[in-house]
């Protein structure tokens, strides 16, 4: 049994002052169900992560009027929603449910984020040994970038090229937060946040969200819109490894092969990829670990324009990604899946639609490199 994505929705707004986080979840839930041609009453499984307000998934199930017979609140940071898709597919395969709703929403841009929602508490066993040092999320990715430069000769210009390509893609997306193309020099001249990462090496902060509907084949058969097959799913956790933390190799090195094996395909078969882009370095390390280029060659690969759609070697993040389009609730996983669904349906922005796009990869990196992070990879296929 191959489960399918039948509905995919990205909230059109990037700023939602006065809108509650619960309302955002409800709006994206309705959007994804409408896209699928289903209704709230059809949902029998609900998935959310810590961005959902209230008590696990229960508050949102209550608020939305759901009566799920399967519930999953897996928390893997921005990669959570890729996990949810994989878990929903497994649950459908096991006969536990047939219409799974996955929601993400938040309003950090308007300042409505629940403070601490993404933060570990003082009870976290690592807190006493990591929290006191002023090590921001950016600084931890900066440590990874610095080490990657040291080990492999990656340059700041190569990192900047990731942003440049994202901006060129975002120029075609009328809803993107940042639509103006930028140059490598503009990235390097933007304020340094935590060297070697500049402001423009970082993703945007946006309100909004997105939702997905995953269905069983017998449900998909009756739907009008094209569906997308979930062919492979892999997830892995990178840890500090009792003190031998690896700053240049992410969990993608394990989640990727697992997803490829389940789907029975190879990196060279992928027509389009959505790659988590919290920072420019995130993309370079991920594409290496996923096998799109050799370890350490991500810089030159990106520098040669490989990520450009529609005709680069590996068209990536054609919506403009988290770097330019949208990173709702500080979590980029759902928008990554939504853009892959657009590509496989042939509904991406026309200038960037990958011709005859049959096979897409989506990769999420949740948590923080250099500490604890999840890698979740999905392989999605156009429905025949």
């Amino acid at each position: 049994v191959t489960a399918l994505i039948a509905g995919a929705f990205e909230h059109p707004a990037r700023e939602l002052p006065g809108v509650s986080v619960a309302q955002v979840h409800a709006e994206v839930a309705r959007g994804a169900l409408a896209d699928a041609g289903l209704e709230m009453g059809d949902v029998d499984a609900y998935f959310c992560a810590q961005d959902a307000p209230g008590f696990g998934g229960l508050s949102m199930a209550d608020y939305l009027g759901l009566h799920p017979r399967f519930i999953d609140t897996t928390e893997a940071g921005g990669a959570s929603y890729l996990s949810h898709v994989g878990h929903a597919a497994a649950a459908i395969r096991a006969g536990k449910c047939s219409v799974a709703l996955i929601t993400l929403g938040g309003t950090p841009r308007s300042g409505g984020a629940r403070h601490g929602a993404n933060m570990r508490g003082p009870e976290a066993p690592e807190a006493a040994f990591e929290s006191p040092y002023g090590a921001s999320v950016v600084s931890l990715y900066a440590l990874a970038a610095r080490r990657h430069m040291y080990e492999y000769g990656t340059t700041a210009r190569q990192l900047a090229q990731v942003k440049v390509t994202a901006s060129e893609h975002a120029a075609h997306n009328e809803r993107a937060l940042l639509r103006a193309p930028v140059t490598i020099d503009e990235v390097l001249e933007s304020p340094m946040i935590s060297d070697p990462l500049h402001r423009l090496d970082c993703c945007v902060v946006t309100d909004g969200g997105g939702a997905l509907v995953v269905v069983a084949p017998e449900v998909a058969r009756h739907l009008a819109r094209p569906t997308v097959r979930i062919l492979g799913h892999g997830e892995a956790v990178a840890t500090t490894s009792d003190g031998r933390v690896d700053l240049t190799r992410t969990a993608a090195a394990r989640s990727g092969p697992a997803a490829f094996a389940e789907a029975g395909v190879r990196p060279a078969d992928i027509d389009y990829a959505s790659i988590y882009d919290s920072f420019t370095i995130t993309v370079i390390e991920s594409i290496e670990d996923l096998g799109f280029c050799k370890k350490g060659e991500g810089g030159p690969f990106v520098g040669a324009g490989a990520l450009r759609a529609p005709d680069g070697a590996l068209p990536v993040n054609t919506d403009g990604g988290g770097l330019c389009n949208n990173h709702p609730a500080n979590r980029g996983g759902t928008t990554k899946i939504v853009e892959a669904v657009r590509q496989l349906r042939g509904e991406a922005n026309a200038e960037l639609q990958v011709p005859d796009c049959e096979l897409a990869l989506v990769h999420g990196l949740g948590g923080v490199v250099g500490s604890r992070s999840a890698g979740v990879t999905l392989i999605l296929g156009r429905d025949e």
Partner: protein
């Protein structure tokens, strides 16, 4: 960069009391798993590698090198008013890579591989915090 970065408050767990007692005495005391022949970071009362529930608490040299480094231009919270500061992973001679601050240094001249030693900063209410300094040439 100044040597007066914020210290604490830090929640000290009794599970790793020997680490904090050592720190207060100016000594780097780490859990060590005899079976794996490895020092463990961050400190805990068992070996996450082999599962052994007894660890030895051993004094480490406190010497290491910069494994990676970054200068945060503007911090948040307790670090909002300290100016630029350096966050590093220090690789101890004993193996573990430790996230900390490099203090008393020129942030623009920190390099990977530079020798460092562990120091302990003192704060209010007897708080103590591991940090690192460049070894003098």
């Amino acid at each position: 960069v100044n040597g007066h970065l914020p210290v604490g408050p830090v929640t000290e767990s009794a599970e790793v009391r020997p680490f904090w007692d050592g720190a207060r005495a100016g000594r780097l005391v780490l859990p060590y798993c005899p079976g794996c022949a490895r020092y463990i970071w961050y400190p805990r009362s068992f070996c996450p590698r082999c599962g052994a529930t007894e660890v030895q608490w051993r004094e480490a040299s406190g010497h290491g090198v910069v494994y990676s480094h970054t200068t945060v231009e503007r911090g948040m919270g307790a670090f909002a008013d300290v100016g630029r500061y350096v966050v590093v992973f220090v690789e101890l001679d004993e193996g573990p890579r430790i996230l900390t601050n490099l203090v008393d240094c020129d942030p623009d001249h920190v390099v990977i591989g530079a020798p460092v030693r562990v120091v302990f900063d003192r704060g209010a209410d007897d708080a103590v915090l591991l940090r690192a300094r460049l070894e003098r040439a």
